[in-house]
């Protein structure tokens, strides 16, 4: 457990993806079975036991520390698990007879079977045996709050690296595996054959597109491509398959392979034919696609109530067919898969699933026009939910990852506003010496005349050279410092105007300005523009009205 805790501790501070991978792979190499398997399970969210409530942890610490000292400490540290881990008194154990600290395996397997009444005593024993970091990790684990910035995908990628395997291969067999993954590690270390995925409805690694640049078109022949709308929803994979007894199992996966079936029970009955559909999850009301803001309200809900299902009816818009019954279609050219998809959707004949229409075009000029005005190019009333167009080579097989030259995405032009830089914060990792996180604002009428109100934060979009320029500007124009945050001069005639591009806007009671941007980034530095000429909040509010969506708090 202490070694696992050390890993979590280090991961929690490490900002870089590659460095996280190195730490993880190093751990998998160094630590044996079954501990590393349970670690992989913990990191991928595959462990299941009843979590301990914070109140239980409070009771444990209250029984052995002074309440005033605990209060002062908690106040200072600001995190219950950490405070308890740090101030847990050293146990008075018989020196020659100390039990060794528990292994991760011991903790996980014990927690699985432990009764609720036995938990406090067991936790106490472990807390006595572990060191500070070990106690912290244990408490995070048992309270189910293991948030350390690691995705399941990253943990699997690190495991794959142990055997120089493609992470997609791990992803393919993953649904059939269970902690502590002895068969997986045996394969990765070359001691056994690749485990066979017996899952009737496995995830298939997703194919992604490159963003197209203007300069790319010259080399492309329109005749080689099929175009379709890029819908502003959630990319998913809907898979159905027959188990050994012939029953159909259906699952919905996110593009990273996360099983999200539980959040969309209303879609499951629709997936009654064995196959694997690549598509976009949308909300449809009276046949019309709703904006992403609406869809967002159905996401990340713990409880999916009948009311939610009724008010936010889910819909799958199909792009591609990867499997048809027992047949793997991924080697076939896209044009052929598309025909199979049309037949498949026709057989399903369900109002909750439809085909994403193709966009007819003979030249790039025609496609440019369609992209500029999807409503009159076939998207009709759903045009607002179109994010751009997708270009897919007719002969492209379905390849995992982002293969070059096969699929292109061509987004619609983003919204643009001119905002004023208000605060800057230092970045992480390679950027730790640069002020690279920017809070920007627009003008609004205040009590004492016009004032700037923050409307968003951006930390990318600029070039390295521009980063240097902004960094220098921030250092020379700081008016105040609050910890890592610098207050940068922002007055009518003094300050820096940033051209900010963003994808969408929604109402947000959490922000002072009442609006929140989606995917904001710095598109240009407007050294030429005095701050007073930057945009006003009213401009954003007008955009909001155009989107006409109310977001609940």
């Amino acid at each position: 457990m202490n070694r696992f805790a050390e890993l979590l501790d280090r991961l929690a501070y490490e900002p870089g993806r590659n460095n996280k991978l190195r730490l993880l792979t190093g751990y998998f190499r160094e630590v044996g079975d079954p501990d590393r398997g349970y670690a992989l399970a913990a990191l991928t969210g595959a462990l299941s036991f009843k979590h301990a409530k914070p109140a239980l942890i409070r009771d444990l610490i209250a029984a052995r520390t002074d309440p005033v000292l605990f209060g002062l400490s908690y106040d200072y540290v600001g995190d219950l698990s950490e405070t308890v881990a740090l101030m847990w008194p050293k146990a008075v154990l018989a020196a020659h007879n100390n039990p060794p600290p528990p292994t991760l395996t011991e903790v996980v397997t014990t927690l699985r079977t432990l009764g609720k009444t036995e938990l406090p005593k067991q936790l106490e024993r472990w807390l006595d045996e572990l060191d500070e970091t070990g106690r912290w990790a244990l408490l995070k684990l048992v309270t189910g709050a293991l948030r350390i910035g690691i995705s399941a995908r990253l943990a699997k990628t690190a495991a794959a690296a142990l055997g120089d395997k493609d992470p997609h291969d791990v992803e393919l067999i993953w649904p059939g595996l269970a902690p502590p993954y002895l068969d997986l590690f045996a394969w990765l270390e070359g001691r056994a054959e690749k485990p066979v995925n017996r899952d009737p409805a496995p995830f298939r690694p997703v194919m992604l597109a490159h963003a197209i640049e203007d300069s790319d078109f010259a080399a492309l022949d329109p005749a080689d491509y099929i175009a379709e709308w890029k819908w502003d929803g959630i990319r998913v994979q809907a898979v159905a398959g027959r188990d050994e007894r012939g029953h159909v199992t259906a699952r919905l996966y996110s593009r990273t392979g996360e099983d999200i079936t539980g959040s969309f029970p209303d879609l499951v009955p629709t997936l009654r034919l064995p196959g694997a559909i690549d598509g976009e999850l949308l909300i449809l009301r009276e046949g019309r696609v709703q904006s992403f803001n609406v869809l967002q309200q159905r996401l990340n809900r713990k409880v999916v109530s009948p009311k939610l299902i009724k008010e936010f009816p889910i819909h799958l818009r199909a792009y591609d067919l990867l499997g048809d019954d027992e047949n793997d279609l991924r080697e076939l050219p896209f044009a052929e898969r598309r025909e199979r998809l049309e037949t498949f959707i026709g057989k399903l004949s369900d109002p909750r699933i439809d085909l994403s229409p193709t966009v007819a075009f003979a030249s790039w000029e025609a496609l440019t026009a369609a992209r500029a005005d999807p409503a009159s190019a076939g998207a009709g009333e759903d045009a607002d939910a179109v994010e751009g167009v997708m270009l897919k080579r007719r002969d492209a097989p379905y390849l995992p990852g982002r293969p070059k030259g096969q699929w292109w995405k061509w987004k619609r032009d983003p919204h643009i506003i001119d905002a004023v830089l208000m605060y800057a914060q230092r970045g992480h990792g390679k950027r730790s010496s640069f002020y690279s996180d920017y809070t920007f604002g627009v003008w609004t009428a205040g009590e004492g005349g016009d004032e700037l109100v923050p409307v968003g934060k951006a930390y990318f979009g600029f070039t390295d050279e521009e980063l240097l320029q902004i960094d220098r500007f921030v250092r020379r124009n700081t008016t105040e410092k609050f910890g890592p945050v610098r207050h940068v001069v922002h007055e009518g005639d003094k300050g820096l105007v940033l051209e900010v591009a963003f994808e969408g806007l929604q109402r947000s009671p959490r922000h002072k300005s009442g609006v929140a941007m989606r995917f904001p980034r710095i598109s240009r530095l407007r050294w030429d523009k005095p701050p007073r000429e930057a945009d006003r909040l009213e401009t954003l509010e007008r955009m909001l009205k155009a989107e006409a969506v109310e977001i609940e708090a």
Partner: protein
């Protein structure tokens, strides 16, 4: 005969802790006629006093920092040596904080007060170990005066650093450490762990580190980092003042791992606020267990608590039946605040 009350011997005033019957101040923050100084950190040892009494090392460090004429006159005193000043006797005892650091025992008639300055009871190869001085009143610091501060074994933290250097041989490791005391201790710990490659130094720590070496403390091969090519710093360890590790100066290093050796690193939020990737819990101050054990062992019936988390320590003392009060002294704290700022190359 009238009983002497402790506050008749030592009393906090604006300039610092004043000993009226002895005619001096301990670690004064403003220029005074006669100063008795516990150690060389700039929040305790300031320039401009009439006369200064301190250990030879403390005087030397003040000279390095402020120049030859940092005071009107200087007098060196050894550990264990006793001097009469006015109506009181002053005796210096090792504090184990940094090289030359001392606790000052002030005795007047039958009452002994120990002003411990900053101290630690953990082992440190770069200075004389802390000595327990029985007394009636013990003045303790409270920098880490909360039970969450438990520093653990510093050599384990250094192992963490070496493990990271082994895991990321293509990256530079940049260790923020206070330039007086902490830096040399980290180097000594690295040597003790068997690390014998050259260790690189930020310009601001060269002088003081050379001074440590001149006092016979073996720190192995040290090199100035200035002028070294970026690629050549892959896989190396460089020590720098904490303020430099988040500054433009770091751009000369290949993908640096930023470490910080400090007792504050025990608390995650503190490490994260500073953008530290590798926190090393190495402190030159006593941790909670050290503070409470020392307070108990001095046998003092009255405890004065200064700079840091006074509330918790005063509460603890009172819960143990000891008379305790916070001592309102201003101007002491993190040495870091007074660290020389890093040279801002890109703007210079």
């Amino acid at each position: 005969m009238i009983m002497m009350r402790p506050q008749d011997i030592l009393l906090p005033v604006a300039a610092g802790l004043c000993c009226k019957p002895g005619g001096f101040h301990i670690d004064p923050v403003r220029p005074v006629e006669r100063a008795v100084i516990t150690h060389g950190h700039s929040d305790h040892a300031r320039a401009g006093h009439g006369a200064v009494l301190a250990t030879q090392e403390t005087l030397d460090m003040m000279r390095l920092r402020y120049g030859e004429n940092f005071a009107g006159s200087m007098q060196a005193i050894n550990y264990g040596e006793e001097i009469r000043l006015g109506e009181v006797c002053v005796k210096f005892h090792p504090a184990g904080h940094v090289l030359g650091s001392a606790q000052i025992a002030v005795t007047c008639k039958d009452t002994c007060i120990v002003a411990s300055g900053d101290y630690k009871d953990a082992p440190d190869p770069t200075c004389t170990p802390f000595e327990l001085v029985p007394c009636d009143v013990f003045i303790t610091e409270a920098t880490f005066g909360l039970p969450v501060f438990r520093h653990g074994d510093a050599s384990d933290e250094v192992k963490k650093l070496l493990a990271s250097v082994a895991l990321f041989p293509e990256r530079a490791h940049l260790v923020g450490a206070y330039s007086l005391g902490k830096a040399q201790r980290v180097i000594a710990l690295l040597r003790a762990a068997g690390y014998d490659a050259p260790i690189y130094l930020h310009g601001a720590m060269e002088k003081i580190t050379e001074y440590y070496q001149s006092r016979g403390i073996d720190l192995g091969e040290l090199r100035p980092v200035k002028g070294v090519k970026k690629a050549a710093l892959a896989g190396t360890i460089t020590l720098a003042p904490p303020s430099a590790t988040s500054d433009l100066w770091t751009r000369r290093f290949p993908d640096p791992v930023t470490a910080f050796a400090s007792g504050w690193m025990r608390v995650r939020a503190r490490a994260r606020q500073r953008g530290i990737e590798l926190p090393l819990v190495i402190s030159d101050h006593a941790d909670w267990d050290g503070l409470t054990a020392t307070i108990g062992a001095t046998g003092a019936g009255e405890i004065w608590v200064t700079h840091g988390q006074e509330d918790a320590l005063v509460h603890w003392c009172q819960s143990k039946g000891l008379k305790a009060q916070p001592l309102d002294l201003v101007g002491y704290g993190d040495e870091e605040e007074s660290e020389t700022p890093a040279i801002d190359e890109a703007e210079a």
